[in-house]
Symmetry: C2
Subunit: 302 residues, 2 copies
């Protein structure tokens, strides 16, 4: 049965997952839906059916706006939503790409990602998190750090994303910890001191990473290094290398780390080894806040 | 039917493969055998059966020495052959571990690997390549570079391995090129200029690796960078990082790169961007030469 108060749908459509929020006109979340039908599993013609499977019964008769961020707007996604080039404000619905649908009850808007020509870099989805954070702190001037599989650092000034860089630290940690020879030496635990030492090692001597990785294996074979120490050390070496390259982003800047999970805390610990000033801000709802900011703009233009 | 001139067996028993050489007393190769029954697939009690499958009919009645190097001597291999600690000469048969067999026609010797306490490092198999190289150039004083999945650099002086370091460069290249987000941007070709530029990039600024990796992906999306350039650039960034960390090994040293394949040539190119002096030496037979040197010692002690 259609939900009469359903005003619009917020959607975070990534590579592996889709998250939907059913919203009323006042910005209240009426319901949430999740699916593992991410961009990586879909051909362009399948996206509409995924939405209808999750929403069909609930949609009112009139067109309901669906505001999407993330990889659904990639070239291999539903329809390409061209990047907005930095420096720029977080792109709103006026720069969204409309995806055609057969069902007249859907009015789909896909938000663009951000691109940077030199050094070449791109993001899709994180710009909406940035927009969500800025909706709460519109006068923020500093650096946002968004930990994840691909950690993003973004310099924000005068409401614009000035520049950003992407680090594959999380993906490297997974590949090395689960699929390389190091997997035999890596546990599931943690050792805070080993993490901090490793951060300092690669921050002060980034080139060392190459040889320090295999030493994790050798230290277990020769000296019985624990698998907890090994896991923390691998993470610290990789985050330390990232911190070394991202130094212009955090040195002397106000840094906000988006997130409250273990990874966000690890970044905070790493920054504190360098006496860098930073704070953590919950990231759970920043994507939704960013989508709300985009939808508010749609209402304003109608 | 037993081979009457069979004097001993040389064996390179690695993680994924086993190579056997059937040798006569004069050091001539009578035959070769290959198997994919590497250490990674075998429990300790299965090793003897693998040898008998490959050799059984050919073995004479009296005990035939089988001289083995490689991962068969690891803790999780046939039987642990404890490491010899550097600095030391390449360990010969006097330091080998005897593996017990049920079949009296086999007399199995497993050669030790090398270990280094600080920085923690180990090798199994490469020490025999080093021994093979030194058999041909006994007065060599300098550095050996052994490219591979795990590249080894070893400092040789006065016939001893003084120190060594292991770099996971080859494994990182495979993981990133085949399993990370970069796999979409990496081809099978090569671009010599892109390789040399990338080597210089990480050699001069090792920390940059973190961000430069994702830029390979972004440069394809934004600027249409070719997949050949991407593959060469990934290799160059990783080898450049290794060269930065291995600088004490190659700077001002006589360096010999063991190998003639594309990877060995890439290392040579990388060194030449730094005007480092090096030469390549064919590596095909160095393991066999090392095993022959070990066997010669066995004959001398009998």
């Amino acid at each position: 049965m259609p939900i009469s108060t359903l005003a619009w749908i917020a959607a975070d459509w990534g590579t592996t997952h889709l998250r939907l929020w059913l919203m009323d006109a006042a910005g209240t979340v009426l319901d949430r839906r999740m699916s593992d039908k991410g961009m990586g599993r879909l051909a362009p013609h399948q996206y509409e059916a995924v939405l209808l499977d999750l929403l069909g019964e609930d949609l009112p008769g009139q067109p309901t706006p669906v505001v999407i961020c993330g990889m659904a707007g990639a070239r291999q996604g539903w329809i390409e939503a061209p990047y907005a080039a930095v420096p720029c404000t977080v792109p709103g619905i006026d720069r969204a790409t409309r995806a055609p649908t057969s069902d007249p009850r859907l009015a789909v808007y896909i938000l663009p990602g951000l691109s940077q020509a030199q050094p070449a870099d791109v993001m899709r989805g994180e710009e909406t998190q940035i927009g969500g954070f800025l909706a709460g702190e519109p006068s923020f001037d500093g650096v946002l750090c968004l930990p994840g599989t691909h950690c993003k650092w973004a310099h924000i000034s005068a409401s614009e994303v000035v520049s950003f860089r992407t680090f594959m630290t999380g993906e490297l940690f997974s590949l090395l910890g689960q699929q390389s020879v190091l997997r035999h030496s890596i546990g599931t635990g943690w050792d805070e001191a080993a993490f901090a030492d490793a951060v300092t090692d690669t921050l002060s001597r980034p080139a060392g990473l190459g040889a320090e990785l295999f030493s994790i294996r050798a230290a277990q074979l020769l000296h019985g290094q624990s698998t907890d120490v090994a896991r923390a050390r691998l993470s610290g070496l990789l985050i330390g290398l990232e911190m070394a390259a991202a130094r212009p982003y955090w040195l002397g800047q106000e840094v906000v780390i988006l997130g409250e999970d273990g990874l966000a805390k690890a970044y905070e610990t790493a920054m504190k080894t360098q006496s860098a000033w930073c704070r953590r801000v919950p990231a759970e709802d920043t994507t939704l806040q960013g989508l709300k900011a985009a939808f508010a703009q749609l209402k304003a233009t109608q």
